[in-house]
């Protein structure tokens, strides 16, 4: 359906594939991927498309121009300085 978006997300624990309504918020997608791939709930992640983090995470998927089937990355934040 045109109102849905299929996401293939590369995560720290394999690939998560699911279809969401285009109005789903980014934070809800992150939560679904974290739960499905059994990642630590307390760790911070960014959802990334074409090298850009999808922020703010309260925005819906469609507001980032996503449609159809899309490949994303779930990237763990945090690093040294």
């Amino acid at each position: 359906m045109h109102d849905d978006i299929t996401l293939e997300i590369a995560t720290p624990n394999g690939i998560f594939t699911a279809t969401f309504p285009k109005t789903t918020k980014v934070t809800e997608v992150i939560a679904a991927a974290v739960a499905d791939r059994q990642l630590a709930q307390g760790d911070a992640f960014d959802l990334v498309h074409n090298g850009e983090a999808l922020q703010p995470v309260e925005r819906p998927l469609v507001s980032f121009g996503l449609s159809g089937t899309v490949t994303l990355e779930l990237v763990a934040t945090g690093s040294g300085v």
Binding site: I15, V75, A76
Partner: protein, 151 residues
């Protein structure tokens, strides 16, 4: 009998292969304790890494920048720079990279981190698997802070 590190890499390599296929990365396991990974950068070029994990998961893996033609590691022309993550010293500055520790590599920026505590270091965050580390490196190579090659 395989070592713990060999067992861990064996277990984690499958998911990493799946991600590499999805993302179009180049991935080649060299032996039971190392692999080579090619990642695209913001400037359209490709950077290569040699990951060695002799003491994983007790110690983090060592992520060397790599030249697939000469097999040299950590040469300036094969090393990206930009931001705090792609550190000016030539190493990836994160607790999940063994080379970031001064006690392991003279270029390591950190003498204040303990190798054995790398998983508990708050800056490690969710980067506790080879896939997580590879995704983070790939992200940094595409980030606006990426500033090309060191040499």
């Amino acid at each position: 009998m395989p070592t713990v590190a060999e067992l861990c890499l064996g277990e984690e390599f499958g998911p990493l292969q799946e991600i590499a296929h999805l993302e179009g990365w180049q991935l080649d396991q060299r032996d039971s304790l190392s692999f080579v990974l090619g990642l695209p950068a913001r400037d359209g070029s490709c950077f290569w890494l040699l990951c060695r994990c002799e003491n994983y998961p007790g110690a983090p893996p060592a992520w060397h920048w790599y030249n697939p033609e000469t097999h040299a590691i950590d040469q300036p022309r094969d090393t990206p720079t930009g931001g705090n993550f792609l550190h000016s010293s030539g190493v990836i500055c994160a607790p999940w990279n063994l080379l970031a520790y001064k006690s392991a590599d003279a270029r390591g920026p950190h003498s204040d981190w303990t190798i054995g505590d790398w998983r508990a270091n708050p800056m490690t965050g969710g980067c506790k698997t080879f896939s997580a580390m590879a995704l983070r490196i790939a992200f940094e190579l595409k980030a606006p802070s990426f500033a090309g090659r060191r040499g």
